[in-house]
């Protein structure tokens, strides 16, 4: 066990971003840095249980435009473990329902002297938009089906904790890839760290276009289960679908639920992840969710470590100063 005090100099200084908006635009080294920082915090807090006073005097706002229990709680807890103050801004009770634009709302919060905004929104790119308009750090806690970088990081963190290195590891992302921000963040992080990624589900949820990014596409779970070292079972996002992309939940579960029968054909040390909330009986049967290979509860604990690391990097004393967001700038011809 490491010492109870946290050596601030132990955190490497290559982090140059003001915000954490997505994993797509980070380099492999930056992703490793995020994971390493999370490891440091996990150790320094005795497994995320003790408090540190490294962000005392810092105020973090959670600005959630979509319902969330675990992500918001996890961020709030992570911030408090580091000594930061946390203010929850509930979007439904705010002036947003009175027609104020979300940028105006965020500007108001900024004027109150906060240091970082943790934002969740149903529309892709909304954190990026905030980052352009605000000078405080913006952390994306999920923007529609686009990305959920801390979820991707904590999934990868959990795998790395068990397997050491991601290089050459085969990870199957199964389910509603089309509507899953977790899938996208996992995909980018895993590919950048050298893992082999297979996306699996019906063609209505898993586009063949993913192949253009060097990802393997499969519509047959039974065919890929024996090859996978890790399976990440993604929730069906009924709320984001225009028309149902499969005939029935029953048929979906028959084809794509991870069951004990399918588990029998898997590698013995297969790891199973599922970003909550899970629909037991749809993506994963109850006995698989609770089996020894399941990292589902590790994921929740590691979420704290990852979020402490992210908060530290984006609003700690060594956070990059006013580095613009990684938005491509466009010139003329």
């Amino acid at each position: 066990m490491s010492s109870p005090t946290f050596d601030q100099q132990a955190v490497p200084s290559q982090w140059t971003h003001r915000h954490l908006l997505d994993l797509e635009r980070l380099t492999p080294d930056e992703i490793r840095l995020l994971l390493d920082t999370a490891t440091l915090f996990k150790e320094a807090t005795g497994g995320c249980r003790r408090k540190l006073a490294v962000l005392t005097g810092t105020t973090v706002v959670t600005l959630f435009f979509e319902n969330s229990t675990r992500t918001k709680t996890s961020f709030a807890l992570a911030a408090r473990r580091l000594g930061a103050d946390v203010v929850d801004f509930s979007a439904s009770s705010s002036s947003l329902s009175k027609g104020e634009s979300f940028i105006d709302t965020a500007r108001n919060l900024e004027a109150m002297g906060i240091d970082a905004v943790v934002v969740r929104h149903g529309t892709p790119g909304t954190p990026h938009l905030l980052a352009q308009h605000l000078s405080v750090g913006v952390i994306n806690a999920g923007d529609g089906p686009h990305e959920h970088p801390t979820q991707g990081l904590l999934d990868i963190f959990s795998i790395r904790e068990r397997l050491g290195d991601l290089q050459g590891v085969t990870v199957g992302l199964v389910g509603d890839i089309a509507h899953s921000r977790t899938a996208r963040s996992n995909l980018w992080g895993l590919v950048k760290l050298g893992a082999r990624v297979i996306v699996c589900g019906p063609p209505t949820l898993v586009s063949d276009r993913w192949r253009e990014l060097g990802v393997e596409v499969s519509h047959d779970l039974d065919a890929i289960v024996p090859r996978c070292d890790v399976l990440n079972l993604l929730r069906i996002q009924f709320e984001r679908q225009n028309t149902r992309p499969f005939p029935s939940v029953r048929e979906y579960a028959h084809l794509y639920a991870m069951t004990r029968e399918r588990l029998k054909r898997a590698k013995k040390d297969l790891l199973i992840l599922a970003p909550g909330p899970i629909n037991r009986g749809v993506e994963v049967s109850a006995e698989v969710a609770d089996c020894p290979q399941s990292l589902i509860l590790d994921q929740v604990a590691n979420g704290l470590a990852v979020r402490m690391g992210v908060l530290w990097l984006t609003c700690g004393p060594r956070a990059a100063d006013a580095v613009p967001a990684a938005i491509p700038t466009r010139g003329g011809f």
Binding site: G125, H128, H146, R330
Partner: protein, 431 residues
């Protein structure tokens, strides 16, 4: 009104097959002659413009402009929109009737004409609604609208969804020889969409609008046009498949014309990577393959003309989240620069084809007595500086809105003079 002499410019007028350095003489608002290059003494006319090194063309016509008035004056007015048109080199615009209320009555058409006359800027020709109240249920009073001066019919902003109504509209408009300008979109396929459906939308997690949503409807309307003999003008073609459908229909002799917008031959869906709502329009920015197909369509004439789909939106509306921000992009003040930069300077088309696409053919499709410098024609003339390099600055726009993704771009080619009815209405400060 007196005389105006435009000396020594490169006169490009496809309606007469003219492309030569020459003088244009205007008297009392009408073209008198093209000739006597350089021999006409300075001082002979009341006003002389030295057009050396400039391109002199029949006044440009944008046949797809949303002026927003009446109803959405916070976005644009007839006056501000037509001033933007003049600054962009357009002497005429055709305004699209999706205003509030929509332009579906004689009174509404008359309102636009009066407002335009009061603004005293460029010519405004009215496109009126195909359907009453733009609801797609029953035909508007097309005959009376024609009497009021409507030059074409469109429910743009939305497709005419009922196929039978569209068929009736084609049949009925035939009697007035008026085209139907069609927004082509199968709404079930594009529902909830923000951008083109492709690799970029997949990566960004944004709901896509597939190319098929446009192509399926183009196919329907081509079939209806062919079966009725009605005139179809396909608005803002954005896909390679759409270009192919139109090319094949024209080869069969169908009465079809088509337009493309500068943004569709310039930008791709990659522009959405910054989540900037200025890149959000309908139809959406497509892929590099589609951009190339649009350009090829302009080169071979499958796409008859260039129109901007100038769609102003007040800045607070565009500052919303991507799915709540409205579709639309400004076009009037960047069209010439984009067309010259993307099409002429790259050698894809010559000046005669550009002038045909931006003046001759829009006039022909809408049946306007414009788009020519024949002796006796109304002296609507655009003089373009083909070489000037300039930086787009939305703060300098005459439009009330600033929703242009081209802010900060450097473009080549810009209107130096815009002349309407023999009067110089816009003069570029070339300091």
């Amino acid at each position: 009104m007196g005389t105006l002499l435009i000396r020594g410019g490169r006169v490009v007028d496809p309606s007469q097959g003219i492309d030569r350095v020459d003088d244009v003489l205007v008297r009392d608002g009408l073209v008198v002659s093209i000739g006597h290059a350089g021999t006409q003494p300075i001082g002979k006319a009341d006003e002389t413009i030295d057009a050396t090194g400039l391109v002199v063309t029949p006044g440009l016509i944008d046949m797809h402009v949303h002026l927003r008035e009446p109803g959405r004056e916070e976005d644009e007015t007839i006056e501000s929109g037509t001033r933007a048109a003049l600054a962009g080199g357009f002497t005429s615009v055709a305004c699209i009737p999706n205003t509030e209320p929509p332009l579906d009555t004689q009174a509404a058409v008359e309102f636009v004409h009066q407002k335009a006359a009061r603004a005293d800027t460029c010519n405004v020709f009215v496109v009126a609604c195909v359907s009453r109240n733009r609801e797609g249920k029953e035909l508007a009073e097309i005959g009376q609208l024609v009497e009021a001066g409507a030059v074409a019919f469109s429910d743009d902003g939305a497709p005419v969804y009922d196929a039978e109504l569209m068929r009736r509209a084609f049949e009925y408009c035939r009697m007035f020889d008026k085209p139907i300008l069609a927004h082509e979109e199968v709404l079930e396929l594009s529902r909830g969409g923000v951008m083109h459906e492709g690799l970029v939308s997949l990566v960004l997690g944004l709901t896509g609008m597939p190319a098929a949503a446009e192509e399926v409807m183009i196919g329907r309307d081509i079939a209806l046009s062919e079966v009725t003999g009605g005139r179809l003008h396909v608005m803002h073609v954005s896909t390679a498949g759409g270009v192919a459908l139109i090319r094949a229909a024209k080869a069969r002799g169908a009465r079809i014309s088509a337009e493309a917008c500068p943004h569709h031959f310039t930008l791709t869906d990659d522009g959405l990577r910054g989540f900037d709502s200025n890149f959000k329009m309908s139809p959406p920015l497509r892929t590099a393959v589609d951009v190339e197909a649009i350009i090829a369509g302009i080169v071979d004439g499958t796409i008859d003309c260039i129109a901007t789909d100038h769609a102003p939106h007040a800045r607070e509306k565009k500052m919303l989240e991507l799915d709540r921000a409205p579709f639309g992009i400004l076009g009037l003040e960047t069209a010439v620069g984009l067309a010259v930069t993307r099409l002429v300077a790259t050698g894809r088309i010559g000046w005669p084809r550009l002038v045909e696409a931006m003046s001759t053919l829009p006039a022909r499709i809408l049946g306007l007595n414009r788009g020519t410098l024949r002796p006796g024609a109304v002296a609507d003339i655009t003089i373009i500086d083909p070489a000037v390099s300039w930086r787009v600055d939305v703060q300098q726009f005459r439009s009330r809105s600033i929703n242009s993704p081209f802010h900060g771009w450097t473009l080549q080619g810009r209107a130096a003079f815009t002349i309407v009815g023999g009067r110089v209405k816009h003069r570029l400060d070339r300091g």
